[in-house]
């Protein structure tokens, strides 16, 4: 680690020393950092470019070249940043930490919000740039949509949509009240979908879902530069099918609340101070009653409660734009499993799959963006976290001691991170290099899971509380060219991960799950390497016609030579967009080449290549202050039967689907 830091410091200080010769002038435009990627979500300022404005948040996030969404059904996809599972990233909602309550990753944090709650998603690659806490892969912060104080105004949006393939109805409305000293936003959205059909009209059973979400933000201005804000999200999904898994979900419920105090212009050097207190409560109840044949009936509820805070100071001193964040949270995760014997005279079989684990985490992060001159900018991040786990449930503690005799109830870890980036901004060419070091603690499942069945490799997984921290060094190179006719963005990110956490077969141990292949315990590979690359090329054929292309490729290899699972093969998207005043039309093809670097050890199978064609058109009608956006299209025009690397257990994707979205702004 120290050699890496030395190397990192050297790499950064060399250009800095060279540039120190130049006369430096503060750059006003320091906000732009190319290490950050932003996915815009809010409909209010939605450009018509989004293929389907009312698609799920999962679809929005999938547009980012940093993110893959791993699909276990129609709903609640798991975001993989830089090809790494969600344990390796920090996912927050407006900076708030939330822990899913499902041991089978049926409820990633992103499933507890709706597009109507959000303005954008800020994605940081690697541990560079994140203020959210210890991470390896990167961070994803979902930014709440909110109004701001202003002249008295009342506005709203109402929308509805329908999709033919799975008879999905989407409906919702939002309204904003704006006053000089007060604002409030309220929105509600509902979705209901039936089973979808894969290409060739093949019905995918247990792919239905229903969800509703209500949220509100209200703020009151205390003074010219001070205000308080309260935010609430209530999200409830029910009857959610997971065709890729052996079980469904009866209900997944989250309550996410916060209060925040914001102060601007504290002094010439401190521009902003924010302090937020938050609490969230997640309940997740799995359900096997819809499956006609199961080896054994079971109940698998899970609960997760998190309370936390963060306090941010932002300011500017000479050429430094700095940010200091102090944050902390407390989480309690508990998951049960009760199996009912087919012999009704027998007692129920009960176990704790998450043994009531407390996670206490405190973190200090410092960030400095240094505008060396008009062309050069450096970003330095440093952070340290204290991570403490305690098995709070005695039953669970004793259970884990079956595998770990003498296991201590508590474990404390120090998690460090450091990154530095240089960015050069020329007339048309921007390039940047970021080097980062990060560490993370094992997740609740990885550290303390007890017989968690993985339906892909069909092994029961046992957590390992004795693992070391996982450590990563990564380098990210970005080059962007923006010409009059052509824009190109090339990104390459390389991760060297030491003590890589992954399940390893424990020979001689018998699986608990009926039909399981055996037991895997979380262990650590000496190292693993992951390479990510993406290329975006946009060509402006005429003023109205743009040809957009994107391709990406990821490769992950463990030190034992094994392919890491869920790595994206070479995938592409190419489309033509025609835009003329308020009308847009889009035709694109997306596909992937044959997947050969799959991970058989983790249950993956080879995949053929595929390509699907999507068409859409939109028109915005304006009436005075109001406007109506109509967007309609067809996805998978040729009704191709296909599945991708990110489809859990190779569950097929949706076949031909016609959709219409109507959004009325007033």
């Amino acid at each position: 680690m120290y050699r890496f830091i030395l190397w990192l410091v050297l790499a950064i200080s060399t250009p800095l020393a060279l540039l120190a010769q130049k006369k430096t002038t503060p750059n006003k435009d320091t906000a732009h950092v190319s290490m950050e990627e932003v996915v815009v979500i809010s409909q209010q300022n939605l450009s018509q470019k989004m293929e389907k404005p009312l698609s799920s948040l999962d679809n929005y996030l999938e547009k980012s070249s940093l993110i893959n969404m791993v699909r276990r059904g129609s709903y609640a996809w798991e975001p993989f940043i830089n090809g790494m599972s969600s344990e390796r990233s920090v996912i927050t909602i407006d900076g708030m930490r939330i822990y899913g309550a499902c041991t089978d990753k049926m409820d990633p944090v992103t499933s507890y919000v709706e597009i109507t709650n959000l303005a954008k998603a800020n994605i940081h690659s690697g541990s560079a740039g994140t203020l959210g806490g210890a991470t390896i892969a990167g961070s994803l912060d979902l930014v709440r949509k909110k109004s701001y104080f202003g002249d008295t105004q009342w506005k709203g949006i109402a929308f509805t949509g329908f999709e033919t393939n799975n008879r999905q109805w989407i409906a919702g409305a939002g309204t904003s009240i704006i006053r000089p000293r007060f604002y409030m936003d309220v929105d509600a959205t509902g979705r209901k979908a039936e089973n979808y059909a894969a290409g060739g009209q093949k019905e995918v059973l247990y792919s239905q879902y229903a969800k509703y979400n209500v949220s509100s933000v209200a703020a009151y201005r205390l003074g010219e530069h001070r205000h308080v804000e309260a935010s609430l999200i209530y999200d409830h999904a029910l009857d959610v099918g997971y065709p890729a898994l052996p079980m469904d979900v009866a209900t997944a419920k989250a309550f996410i609340g916060s209060v925040e105090y914001v102060q601007h212009h504290l002094s010439p050097t401190i521009l902003l101070s924010k302090t937020k207190l938050y609490y969230n409560d997640v309940t997740h109840i799995m359900d096997d009653t819809k499956r006609p044949i199961v080896p054994i009936r079971m109940d698998m509820p899970g609960w997760s409660k998190t309370a936390g805070f963060y306090s941010v100071l932002q300011g500017r001193v000479a050429i430094h734009e700095w940010n200091a964040t102090l944050s902390g949270h407390h989480n309690y995760s508990l998951a049960e499993m009760t199996m009912f014997s087919n012999d009704s005279t027998r007692k129920d079989m009960f176990m704790l799959t998450w043994p009531g684990v407390n996670t206490d985490y405190g973190d200090l992060a410092l960030k400095d963006i240094i505008a060396i001159n008009d062309d050069w900018k450096a970003t330095v991040n440093i952070g340290v976290g204290v991570h403490h786990n305690k098995i709070a449930n005695t039953f669970g503690w004793e259970s884990l001691q079956i595998f770990y005799p003498g296991l201590k109830q508590s474990k404390t870890r120090i998690l460090k991170r450091l990154s530095a980036a240089m960015e050069h901004k020329g007339e048309q060419l921007i390039y940047s290099l970021a080097l980062a070091y990060g560490e993370r603690a094992p997740s609740v499942s990885e550290g303390y899971g007890f017989y968690l069945f993985n339906s892909s490799d069909r092994f029961d997984y046992i957590g390992n509380p004795w693992m070391k921290n996982e450590k990563s060094g990564n380098a990210t190179l970005t080059a962007t060219y923006a010409g009059a006719k052509l824009s190109v963005k090339l990104t390459g990110a390389y991760f060297y991960i030491k003590d890589y956490i992954i399940g390893k077969i424990q020979p001689g141990l018998s699986p608990m799950t009926i039909g399981g292949n055996g037991i895997k315990r979380y262990e650590q590979l000496p190292h693993a390497t992951i390479f990510n690359s993406a290329l975006d090329v946009n060509y402006y054929l005429t003023e109205k016609l743009t040809w957009s292309n994107r391709c990406s490729y990821r490769r992950g290899i463990g030190s034992d030579g094994i392919n890491l699972p869920l790595m994206q093969p070479f995938s592409y998207n190419s489309g033509l967009t025609y835009a003329h005043s308020s009308f847009t039309a889009d035709a694109n093809v997306s596909g992937a080449v044959k997947h050969t670097a799959y991970s058989a050890d983790y249950g993956e199978r080879p995949l053929p290549s595929y390509a699907v064609i999507n068409l859409s058109a939109a028109k915005r009608f304006a009436f005075k202050q109001q406007s109506l956006l109509v967007k309609a299209g067809v996805e998978n025009l040729l009704d191709t039967y296909y599945t991708t690397f990110s489809d859990w257990n190779r569950v097929p994707r949706m076949g031909r689907n016609f959709f219409i979205n109507l959004l009325w702004n007033y």
Binding site: P295, I296, M337, M339, S341, N342, D343, R346, K347, D348, M349, F350, M351, L352, F395, E398, S399, Q401, I402, F403, P405, F450, Y451, L509, S510, P511, M512, T513, I514, G515, G516
Partner: protein, 282 residues
């Protein structure tokens, strides 16, 4: 009469408690309840004494029974210096036999409670009954007391009686855990061989191999198990990993001192259970 004694003893205990409370420096131990956690299971009387037998459940059951008793004189005082032996006898339609029974010793930290264990390998019923005889000596005078006792069938198999490949008849009984947990449990068992219909002796230095399984869940096993070997207390001790609550079948194999299997078969896909086993359900 008994009621009055109770009252008086209660008052005495109360007074002594007060006395202790008032004298913090006093080192006299507070009186221990020698019968704590025990329930009366039977009363056997003869012309001179009343013998009250106690077990944790208040019943006798097939399998290993830790049995305690007190001997009371006609005046109600407890006998503190008795030496005793016991003989359980099963009277069947055609024959009679005994069962393994330990020596009787004073209960640890007790002054008038005696105890030991008896392993009933079968329950009593309307036509076949168990009879327990106590022979005891107080101050050089011998007494006996005999009574029929009721032995209920345990809800699960906690004792097994079998003939080994060496043609010896063995009796193997589960002693602990009595309250199993989802954890690594201490497991112990008592092993006897039957020399005659009335003579059972503990077997030394064998090995009892265990393979706990859940037949209702694909017959999966559990980690953390250690085979049972004999301890200083003559019982066999090992470790039993139970990964969840519910019904467990503890498949057994008995190995002699030369590690020859005397009884029991390994569990496999083709053979879901051994011919000897214990059951636990919690």
């Amino acid at each position: 009469m008994l009621f009055q004694i109770k009252k008086i003893s209660f008052a005495l205990v109360w007074l002594s408690l007060l006395f202790v409370a008032c004298n913090k420096t006093d080192n006299n131990p507070t009186p221990v309840n020698e019968l704590e956690g025990l329930k009366q299971a039977a009363v056997i009387t003869n012309s001179t004494h009343t013998i009250t037998l106690y077990t944790a459940t208040g019943t006798f059951q097939t399998g290993y029974n830790a049995i305690y008793f007190q001997v009371k004189k006609a005046d109600g005082s407890l006998v503190k210096n008795a030496t005793a032996t016991w003989t359980p006898m099963m009277h069947m339609m055609s024959k009679s036999h005994s069962c393994p029974a330990s020596a009787i010793t004073m209960k640890p930290q007790a002054t008038a409670t005696y105890g030991g264990h008896i392993i009933f390998q079968m329950p009593s019923n309307s036509t076949e009954y168990w009879e327990l005889s106590l022979s005891y000596t107080i101050d050089g005078v011998s007494y006996t007391a005999t009574s029929q006792i009721t032995v209920a069938a345990s809800s699960h198999q906690v004792v097994t009686s079998f003939k080994g490949s060496d043609s010896v008849r063995y009796i193997l009984a589960l002693v602990a855990p009595t309250q199993p947990k989802v954890a690594i449990n201490d497991i112990s068992a008592a092993l006897y061989k039957m020399e005659t219909m009335t003579r059972f002796v503990p077997v030394d230095k064998y090995t009892i191999m265990i393979d706990p399984r859940m037949p209702d869940m694909g017959n999966h096993s559990s980690p953390g198990n250690e085979h049972l070997v004999q301890g200083a207390d003559k019982l066999y001790h090992g470790k039993l990993g139970l990964t969840m609550t519910g019904y467990w079948k503890i498949n057994l194999q008995l190995l002699d001192t030369a590690a020859h299997t005397l009884k029991g078969e390994p569990v496999s896909d083709a053979n879901p259970a051994s011919s000897i086993y214990f059951e636990l359900e919690f």
